[in-house]
Structure formats: structure tokens, C-alpha cells
Point group: C2
Chain length 211, copies 2
DNA sequence: GTCTATATCTCGATAGAC
DNA sequence: GTCTATCGAGATATAGAC
């Protein structure tokens, strides 16, 4: 009898397509939503469970501890952003284009994923968490540093410390994001701002023309 | 008898000058130290008390709740920074000098007060706290916005949104700080970097020469 | 795998002597 | 004002049925 009910429930979900039984992902998603609103210390696991429509204990089946959940969420977001960026950057483009796209789409992604962005900031400034190996979300070596390295080697950039470039570029993205997140401009104007701030950034490091 | 012991203890403190009975301040200081290491959620009030060498209950005599303590600490730091900046900026200077000093000493202060800086970042990204009226530490209207406003009105700056200037300038400071905090350069080199990054910032917004 | 029920513990806050 | 002792809420994590 109970078995029948289970089957029925399952079929209902399949038919309505509304709620695939991907519990681990559901946990991550509701956790993110709640963390963005209350912070991870202000969010009890019991609330994540009830909000996600699952039993409290189930969380600990997928994530041994709350910390593990938080870290898993961070990794999840990180790989999301990574995929998004690699999807939007053409390897065949010139270095300026690639840098522009990296900048542009990093800001764009943050604007379209504000909870995710906010969460990563919280995460970054949470000393007691075991952020072992959790370098800055955007210090994704392979994407950023490779690019800066190339720009330095080809003398596209003035000879400055790569860490300085990295820090300043990162800040410029965050600054642009902060402005746009509050300003609420129409999409087109938003794009203009991102491009303009990128131009400023570029001109900071570009090697001046040799006549 | 006990009264005598008390008096004796008090006199000892006065003589050694080692530990003025300024408990509220001592609480703030050790709280800051611990918050920087464990975060404020990872730091129980009991630990603050024991580390500060006072009784647990005493904390709640000065600060009704833990949240109140956190907020008091934030205000304390904010006014410290404010005093530091106003002490270092000459009102009689030209606008470029004043902006430079604001930038320079903001970074400098952060480098000399890393725990304080780190704490304010934690604070900024703590959604559940009653940060009512806790605007960004550096969005201290009277210091920053007044300056930007003046630069815009005197056409020293290109006509850009003041919020954009504010966001970008702030980010540039944070970016410069992040770089220097990791790089560990000698003091002289540090100054050079701050000045150089300020020049970049300035040239972003400066009105080009009209011939 | 998922649920309910519960064990265990830590922390913030209070009470009351001194 | 400062201390000690303690209370009670609420949190994570586990046990065990289904």
C-alpha cells in the first residue's frame, strides 16, 4: 500500500515536472537562498530542510556536516561561474577581446546571480570556515592569471606586478558590480557602463604607443 | 577585610599602570582580535571574557547583547578611521591633494589596522545583523562624497555619476590594499604603489585638457 | 534514501551575592 | 561594577524505523 503511494507521488512529480527528486541540488539551492538572506550562521539546517520540503535528517545524508554543505555550495557556484565564462570567451579572439569578455561577463554573471555573488563574499570573509584551498572566487588562475601573464609577455601591458594587475582588475569588477547593483539601469545602459569601466581598466595597464 | 583587598588591588593597577580599568574598551579590543581570527559567529562571548581577563557576566553589563557589542565595535572602528583621516587631510589643500591623501591614508590605515579592516568586511557581508544605518565604512558621506561632488562641480572630473566614482574609487582602495597586504613590500615601495594606483584612479576621472 | 524522534551540547543572557 | 552559577533556547548531528 505504502509502496503504491510512493509510486504515485513519484509519478506526480514526473508528470508535473515541477520537482525532480534531485535532493542534493534542492538542498544547495534553498541553502543559497537562505544564506543570502540570513547568512550561514543565521540559517539553521532545520530551516533549510523545511524550506526545501525535505526531512531534516536527509541533509546529513548528503552532507556530513553543515560546513561540508557550505563548502559544497561554494564549489558548486565556482564551477557554475567557470562554465559560464569559458562558454562566453572565444579562445581565438585577440587578447583585448578576451580580457574584455572576462571582465564583461564576470560583472554580468554577478548581476544575474546576486545571491551567488553575495554568498561568495560572505564565504571569503569567514575566517573560521575550513576554506582550505578556497582561493578568491575570481583568482581562478587558469582564467585570469593566464591572461595577464600573456599580456605581460607580449608587452601588451606595461611591466607591472601580475598580482597588482590581478588585484586591481578584480576590484574594478567588484566596484562596477556594486555600482550597477544599486543603480538599476536598463540593460543597454548597463552594458555601456561595463564597457566604459573596462576601457579605463585597460588603459591603466596598456603599454603606451611607441612612435 | 575584603574592602581592603579591593583597595590594594586597585592601587596595584594604578601603580603598575599596566591595566587601566577601562573594561568596555578592553572588551572591544579582545573582541576585535578574536573576531578577526574566528569570525564573530565563531567567537563565543565567554571566550571574549576569559581572553580579556574579566568575568563573563561583565560583558553584558556594558553591552546588552552580543549584537550590540558587534555594532559598538563597528562604530568604534569607524570613528577611529574618521579621526585618522581628518587628521591627515589638510582642508586648505587643492582638490587633487585632498583626494590623494584620502586615498593614500585610507589604504595606509587599513594596512596598519588589518584586523579592523577585516572586521569591517565581515560586518559588511553579514545580512542578519541589524546593520541599520551601517553604510559602507568608506561611504562616509562627508569625507568622500563631498570631495567627489566638489570635483564634479568644478569640472575637475568628467561628468560621470557620483555613485560610479564612489564605487570605483572605493574598489581601487580595496584592490590596492589587497595587493599590498599580501606583497609585504618595504614601506617606501608601498608608498610608491599607493601613489601610482592613485594616479591611475585620478586619470580615470580627470577632465582632459582643453587646448 | 527518506523520514521522525531524540540525544547532546554550546552559547547567550540572567540572577543575585558581594 | 564585578563576579559566580545557572537556566533555557536552539543548534547540529545521530539512531533507527520504514
Amino acid at each position: 500500500m505504502i509502496r503504491l503511494i510512493r509510486k504515485f507521488t513519484y509519478l506526480c512529480r514526473v508528470i508535473t515536472q515541477s520537482d525532480l527528486p534531485d535532493k542534493p541540488l534542492a538542498i544547495l539551492n534553498t541553502a543559497l537562498k537562505l544564506f543570502a538572506e540570513y547568512g550561514f550562521h543565521g540559517t539553521p539546517t532545520s530551516k533549510i530542510a523545511s524550506e526545501a520540503g525535505i526531512a531534516h535528517g536527509t541533509i546529513f545524508h548528503y552532507y556530513k556536516t553543515k560546513d561540508a554543505l557550505v563548502n559544497a555550495l561554494y564549489e558548486h557556484i565556482k564551477s557554475d561561474l567557470r562554465r559560464y565564462l569559458t562558454d562566453h570567451i572565444k579562445e581565438s579572439d585577440g587578447i583585448r577581446e578576451r580580457f574584455r569578455d572576462l571582465f564583461y561577463y564576470s560583472v554580468q554573471w554577478s548581476l544575474e546571480h546576486r545571491d551567488e555573488f553575495y554568498f561568495t563574499q560572505q564565504f571569503k570573509y569567514s575566517p573560521h570556515l575550513k576554506n582550505s584551498g578556497a582561493e578568491d572566487l575570481a583568482q581562478q588562475h587558469s582564467l585570469h592569471r593566464k591572461l595577464y601573464k600573456e599580456a605581460l609577455q607580449t608587452k601588451t601591458f606595461k611591466p607591472v606586478s601580475i598580482d597588482l594587475i590581478s588585484s586591481i582588475a578584480m576590484s574594478q569588477m567588484v566596484g562596477t558590480y556594486n555600482y550597477l547593483a544599486d543603480a538599476n539601469l536598463p540593460a543597454k545602459k548597463q552594458s555601456t557602463v561595463i564597457n566604459d569601466t573596462f576601457d579605463m581598466l585597460w588603459s591603466m595597464f596598456e603599454t603606451p604607443d611607441q612612435p
